[in-house]
Symmetry: none
Subunit: 206 residues, 4 copies
């Protein structure tokens, strides 16, 4: 629980580079072999370093996994925000949100294959909840903000923004899930289109 050894406050440049390198290798290994089969040794082997070095740069496995998850979520979050912010109308923002979500997935498949595996690494309800706050709360808040803008601009009708944000984010995640398990079984482009159309067609008419 409590880390025995805290990392220096001001990580050097090389320090950060190593961490990034290790996280990337970890995600790739997890995506290929599954979380349970991914050991420090396995990650190190793919990187040409020793497992001791990984332990040196991270305060234990938990730290590595947590950092990896944050990396995935942050990168995707930044990408989505950029796309959404480039639009003015709420409907376009929503379309951008959905499309960007899927675009980022397709470009970073290993990240999401790993992510699905990493969900199994939480050992308590508290860890799960913490992940929820980090992963879902910002997403749903972002969607609700778009909905609010839409309502203020008169683009969207009246609906339960909170529930709807969960629904839209849920659809995105659920489609991601199907695509992670079998990339050929679900057409992300078509699904994205249907999802967007479904929503925009509907809520703009109330």
């Amino acid at each position: 629980m409590t880390p025995k050894q805290t990392k220096p406050d001001q990580p050097t440049f090389i320090e950060e580079a190593r961490r990034k390198q290790i996280i990337d290798a970890a995600l790739e290994t997890i995506a290929e072999q599954g979380y349970t089969q991914t050991s420090f040794a396995e990650i190190a082997k793919g990187l040409g370093i020793t497992k001791g070095l990984i332990a040196y740069h991270f305060n234990g496995k938990h730290d590595l996994i947590t950092s990896a998850i944050h990396t995935i979520l942050n990168q995707q979050g930044v990408y989505i925000k950029t796309q959404v912010d480039s639009q003015v109308q709420a409907a376009d923002k929503l379309r951008a949100y959905i499309q960007a979500s899927f675009e980022y997935m397709v470009q970073n498949r290993p990240h999401f294959v790993a992510l699905v595996d990493l969900w199994g690494s939480f050992t308590s309800a508290e860890e799960k909840q913490a992940f929820s706050q980090t992963a879902y709360d910002p997403c749903r808040a972002h969607l609700q903000k778009i909905f609010r803008i839409g309502r203020e601009r008169g683009e969207f009708g009246n609906f339960d923004a909170q529930a709807m944000s969960a629904v839209v984010q849920g659809a995105i995640d659920g489609l991601m899930l199907q695509w992670v398990f079998a990339p050929d079984a679900v057409d992300l482009k078509a699904a994205s289109r249907e999802l967007t159309g479904l929503f925009i067609g509907r809520v703009t008419q109330r």
Copy 2:
């Protein structure tokens, strides 16, 4: 690969009872402590039996996990089918499908908390794909059947049934996911209502 010891062809009553009992205990333990923390010893402890007995009734951990997953999916599938079949109109069938999905979740939370963890137990793309076929193909097929009925009955307009089935199932799974991580962060009832309304309001108008 090849199981060393096959179970008798006709499992006895006590055999089946034990397997069920062990599977239930496994799901509960996984839901509580996470998949990675769930060992045969842990499961056995909660049951008051020895871990040797678990190995006696299952051909290894893989068998136990697979059986557990199938138990979850089968039970939920039966429940949903019953609810859907009790409706005549396609719109009602769809509503029943969505509502039944969430109802079953709420009544069997540990099953789904465990399920999310078990997604991380697949070690290869092949296993993931096999799970996809078992878990998702039937669901999407069921939804498409409802869509087809709706179109034949003139209730639904024209849309990409395949993509839409993925979207609807995705939304259900994605909402489940949020609810698994933080049961209080998402109002399943409200989300169910929005999802249903979203779809039925929309597709009936095309």
Copy 3:
């Protein structure tokens, strides 16, 4: 060490038949899969019975193994004795001893493949010594008896009968060993001929 439960003094007919059946199956399984891979379950499977039954008929694994070894040695001993006794001259007796040893091996290969494996089942010097007394002492004594007859009959010259018995028996066992590991790498017939000729040609000339 001490058997907890002694078998009834007067084994029934069916009792003996079962033991024989189990011993034969055990020897075959050991010959096929090796001693370390041979469990009660494995033996039982090849026999269509349960492993519990094996435990019922033998006082533990040690009893089964010991019985199996004795079975092998006794049967071979009887066969050799019959062949030797049918000869009058010492040289013929010796030739019969050697030939019979190899003949029996060829006709009962699994017995000897198993025997070589079973040598690894002795856990202490005492057990090894006990095996030596059961297995080797009678053989060497038999050979020495033949030598004594030969000397008394004037067929053989003077030599260290004790050492020579060890040498002859050793050659037989050592050839068996090579043949067990790779049946095609050693020509038992030719070796038997050379061994016999070597001895008879030599000792008769001193």
Copy 4:
């Protein structure tokens, strides 16, 4: 089948030392307690290290056993070769071969007690055959080379060199076997003398 983790190409000094140390301890433990009773834990206990370290230096038990067998055979082979090469005449070479075989045994009894046990560690005919090639083929080839020299030098008469090599090696191994099971039951010195005399007396006269 496939080792999961290959050792570095250039084993360090300490690495080799540890391996040697562990192999020696393994042979001693096997000689004392038998192969089936010899676990990693048992070996480690006698060395004052943990069993994890053994797993660290060897790719599994099979690797350790194989390495141990090769150690025994190589060391003995080197010793015998040295002794044989120091002789010029074929008869002296043969005598040296036989004497050196027994001398090495007496000086390294635990090695051979262990070796007899390790014969039971092969689980398939393929492994047995592989052992045969490693252990017996070089020995028989060496003997045949001596025979050929003897024939070329006119020391030995004409005989089936292939069969005879199997016989001589067989006698050596068979005597070793008797001596392993009961060191006091067989006089290796006397047996060595009889075996040598038997052969040299005979074949030189044809």
